[in-house]
């Protein structure tokens, strides 16, 4: 009898959870809002499109990467997580998943995406925070534009480079390590590139956000930055160096939260986010590199570039490499 009750309970639970996983647009509309915590910027056009197309309001809270885990976990532990959907670099969502913050959801909108973008039953990758070399096309002659990453070590770039601080900016650290693992033929070549770059005394800023301005104004000539600024900062005289090697970046991920206050609206939002329409907006208006098949940012030559995700680095690895780059780049 006891066993029968357990079996019935399990069956009932699985039926209920299957029902919960099914998306009901009417219920989503009744819930009214999908709250979205994200570190990605300039996504207002998608939020507006979501409301116009579905009748559900998209409420967006920007949380920087450095505050993401602390904020979400604090709310979650206090039973007050307001986010229905979270978006952040993949390692952040993996940490949140390990703490039970994420729910299983496989969006039908991701059906056409490559298999490697479905990280697990909860996390879906939709883009790559791609890093490239952007330069001032009015001040840098075509012949001088780097053709390989190694060219940045040329002394002609002394005092002319701006980059995020390689001692602590997680994406820059991951990018430098990614170059070692996927681009440079040997560790010696990579190390000589690093030392050459350090000898050129790049100006350090806190993150990618402040990197384009000194290049636009001509204060510096080249930045280790994101090619998306060519779109968002138009008509600034920015272009990207079409290096022979691949572009690398941290994968951008999205997931529904396990205690989403608006679970139907949450799934509706993820479906919309992953749709070709929303990804098209992200690529066209924001210059993001998205993983929806056939969608590219309108940056000349980007559809032909090889853009690769960087291997996930644990926080311990990032700190370890950060310390090493601190010494190489003479950061205090």
């Amino acid at each position: 009898m006891k066993r029968l009750v357990v079996v019935i309970a399990i069956l009932l639970c699985s039926v209920l959870s299957a029902q919960a996983a099914e998306l009901d647009p009417a219920k989503a509309k009744a819930e009214g809002t999908a709250t979205f915590y994200a570190n990605i910027t300039a996504v207002e056009p998608i939020m507006e499109g979501f409301e116009a197309d579905t009748g559900v309001k998209g409420a967006y809270t920007r949380i920087s990467t450095s505050k993401f885990i602390a904020t979400v976990l604090t709310e979650f532990e206090a039973g007050k997580l307001m986010a229905d959907v979270v978006q952040a670099p993949l390692p952040v969502l993996e940490i949140l998943k390990s703490k039970g913050v994420l729910a299983s959801y496989s969006s039908p909108a991701a059906a056409g995406y490559a298999d490697w973008t479905r990280k697990d039953d909860a996390i879906q990758l939709f883009g790559i925070e791609y890093v490239g070399l952007i330069y001032n096309k009015e001040l840098v002659k075509a012949a001088d534009v780097p053709k390989r990453y190694e060219d940045l070590a040329d002394p002609k770039w002394k005092d002319k480079i701006v980059m995020a601080n390689p001692a602590n900016h997680a994406t820059t650290i991951s990018w430098l390590v990614g170059l070692k693992e996927t681009v440079f033929a040997s560790e010696e070549e990579w190390m000589s590139f690093l030392k050459g770059l350090a000898a050129n005394k790049p100006m350090f800023v806190a993150s990618f956000g402040p990197t384009p301005a000194p290049v636009e104004s001509g204060e510096k000539l080249i930045a280790i930055s994101m090619p998306k600024y060519i779109i968002t900062k138009a008509p600034a005289p920015l272009d990207w160096a079409r290096v022979e090697q691949p572009l690398l970046g941290t994968p951008r991920a999205i997931a529904v939260t396990s205690k989403a206050p608006h679970p139907n609206a949450a799934r509706l939002f993820v479906d919309y986010w992953l749709s070709e329409k929303a990804m098209g907006i992200l690529a066209k208006d924001v210059g993001e590199y998205v993983l929806a098949p056939g969608v590219y940012p309108p940056i000349d030559g980007m559809d032909k570039a090889t853009v690769m995700p960087i291997r996930d680095l644990s926080d311990e690895e990032i700190r370890k490499w950060g310390d090493q780059f601190k010494a190489i780049f003479d950061v205090q």
């Binding site: 809270t61 885990i69 976990l73 390692p91 601080n165 350090f204 000194p214 600034a236």
Partner: protein, 561 residues
């Protein structure tokens, strides 16, 4: 101490304690807890990691130079400007009064960026002009240095110092100076032997508030220090917590504890230095009216000096901001740049619903928060200055508690606290957090004003049968109007541009201006950022003018004879 005073002191300790202690307690717990949130099993690991960094010694030296340099610059400039504005017949006083508090209204990140545009060694405008004028090969000035940081932070702290020193200067009893002159002292000797010593509490308050503020400052060290590879405690903290994805604010809080200890020590030093408060009383039972010192031949040269100083130090960066809001991207001024100018960024901001909501929320928080904050500050300042018991000392230290913490850390303390209350994610959480953190901005100018009001005035009123509330309302408060106006301006302008708490407490519907500005900064949208920044300055200027007008209405009540 009588029972009523004791009751008032303990009620205030309770109110201020709840406001400021809760987030700090959360940070203390977090600094001793394993894991990434406030609660976890006990560990000392975070302290060990935080304090065994070999770079710490040099960072502390840089921090001391930066903090003392910028506070000294702010205090000296404020003293100079407030003396000329309040005590002399220098022309255009009203304009200078507004100009000296303009940096208060500008988001610090924008102010720092403007100075980088003016003084960077590659194409900074001032450097370009100097290079051309003196046929130099290299830029003579480099903002990305310790002196650059001191200059910009000093200017940002100038309004705080000005708004504390100016009311004390305004209510100065001229009889003291006249006595000095009658005894044959020169004006300069009178200034150094009489005027400045009497103003000691205000000067010290301004200096100490500057020290505490620059210790917690992040914008200048990150925008100007980091590119020059000059690291201070704030950027060290940032580096410590920003490496990796799972940021440990408990570890940052561990370092923050030394900043807190330094701040509390400073408050104690300040209290000891001003312990004989009777020495600083200048408004007693007689009427007083600060007289205006004729500058005679020095009037125009001094006016020129102040005008030039105001232009170079304050107007020019604001002009740079306005220029940035009109050009399509970061450009050095040129014929082409002027031909491309448009209102595009302004239109985009005015069409953006979140920017408009932010304007509304920030205005509400500025008006409501500053009013409530000043009311609380009047009672706290009264207790600190006039009661002066051990309990009053505790109250004073409590009022500085959350203010003394580095900005990037205290916000997390507030979040850890508010998430356990129904106020989380409401505008009220922001309002309470603002008042709790910036209470010293209200208390300091009021305390230096209170110090100068003799207790005989209060005692006379009580002897004549008036209640304490009536005495406060009819006698004390009218004499405190300059201090209240200063406190209100400091709080209102601070609340309009507050970022540190807002960035962690703001949720959909409670967006505020600084958070929206930060969004633009992270997207690198300097044009929109500058447009919204100018709007913020405009709103703050209106608030300042309103406060001055309200203050002026009470002016006749100050005079006596």
């Amino acid at each position: 101490m009588d029972a009523k005073r004791s009751k008032l002191t303990f009620s205030l300790i309770l109110i201020v304690g709840v406001l400021t202690v809760c987030p700090v307690v959360m940070l203390v717990i977090g600094s001793f807890s394993e894991g990434l949130t406030a609660f976890g099993s006990f560990t000392l690991q975070k302290y060990v990691e935080a304090y065994t960094d070999p770079a710490l010694a040099e960072i502390i030296l840089n921090t001391v130079i930066f903090v003392l340099g910028s506070s000294t610059l702010a205090t000296v400039l404020a003293l100079f400007l407030s003396y000329l504005n309040n005590r002399t017949d220098i022309p255009c006083k009203f304009m200078f009064r507004i100009i000296s508090i303009i940096p208060m209204m500008i988001p610090h990140i924008l102010f720092s960026v403007s100075w980088a545009l003016l003084l960077n060694p590659s194409n900074g405008l001032i450097n370009l002009v100097l290079k051309q004028a003196f046929f130099l090969d290299h830029a003579p000035l480099n903002i990305y240095s310790l002196w650059g940081m001191i200059l910009v932070e000093g200017l940002l702290d100038l309004p705080i110092a000005y708004l504390i020193i100016a009311p004390a200067m305004a209510s100065f009893d001229v009889a003291l100076e006249e006595s000095s002159k009658v005894c044959g002292a020169s004006p300069l000797r009178t200034l150094f032997r009489v005027t400045l010593p009497v103003l000691r509490p205000a000067i010290l308050a301004a200096f100490i508030l500057g020290v505490v503020r620059s210790l917690a400052s992040f914008a200048v060290p990150s925008v100007i220090g980091m590119p020059g590879r000059v690291y201070v405690l704030a950027t060290h903290l940032y580096q410590m917590i920003a490496t990796g994805f799972s940021v440990d604010y408990g570890k940052a809080a561990a370092i923050g504890m030394s900043v807190l200890a330094a701040s509390v020590t400073l408050i104690l030093v300040y209290r000891a230095l001003t312990s004989e408060s009777e020495k600083y009383v200048t408004i007693s039972s007689r009427g007083y009216r600060p007289t205006v010192i004729p500058l005679k031949g020095a009037r125009i040269p001094l006016f020129a000096v102040v005008a030039l100083l105001s232009f170079v130090l304050i107007v020019l960066p604001v002009v740079v901001l306005f220029y940035t809001s009109l050009v399509p991207y970061s450009m050095v001024p040129s014929a082409r740049a002027f031909s491309l100018m448009s209102w595009k960024h302004w239109i985009e901001v005015l069409r953006d619903p979140i920017s408009l909501l932010s304007l509304k929320n920030s205005l509400m928080l500025g008006l409501g928060g500053a009013t409530l904050g000043v009311i609380l500050s009047v009672f706290v300042a009264y207790t600190i200055v006039k009661v002066r018991t051990r309990a009053a000392g505790i109250l004073e230290s409590l009022s500085f508690l959350s203010f003394s913490f580095p900005g990037i850390v205290i916000g997390m303390g507030f979040m850890w606290f508010f998430v356990r209350t129904p106020l989380y994610a409401t505008i009220w959480a922001l309002l309470i957090g603002y008042i709790a953190t910036y209470l010293p901005y209200g208390i300091r100018p009021l305390a230096s004003a209170f110090i100068q009001v003799h207790s005989h005035l209060e005692e006379s009123s009580l002897v004549c049968g008036a209640s304490r509330m009536t005495t406060m309302r009819r006698i004390i408060i009218p004499l405190l109007v300059p201090g209240m106006v200063s406190g209100w301006i400091l709080m209102a302008t601070m609340f309009v541009r507050e970022l540190t708490l807002s960035v962690v407490l703001s949720r959909p519907g409670t967006e505020v201006l600084a958070v929206q500005i930060l969004r633009f900064a992270e997207d690198g949208l300097w044009g929109r950022l500058s447009a919204l920044g100018i709007m913020m300055i405009f709103i703050s200027t209106i608030l300042v003018i309103l406060a001055n007008l309200v203050g002026a209405r009470f002016k006749p009540m100050e005079g006596g004879g």
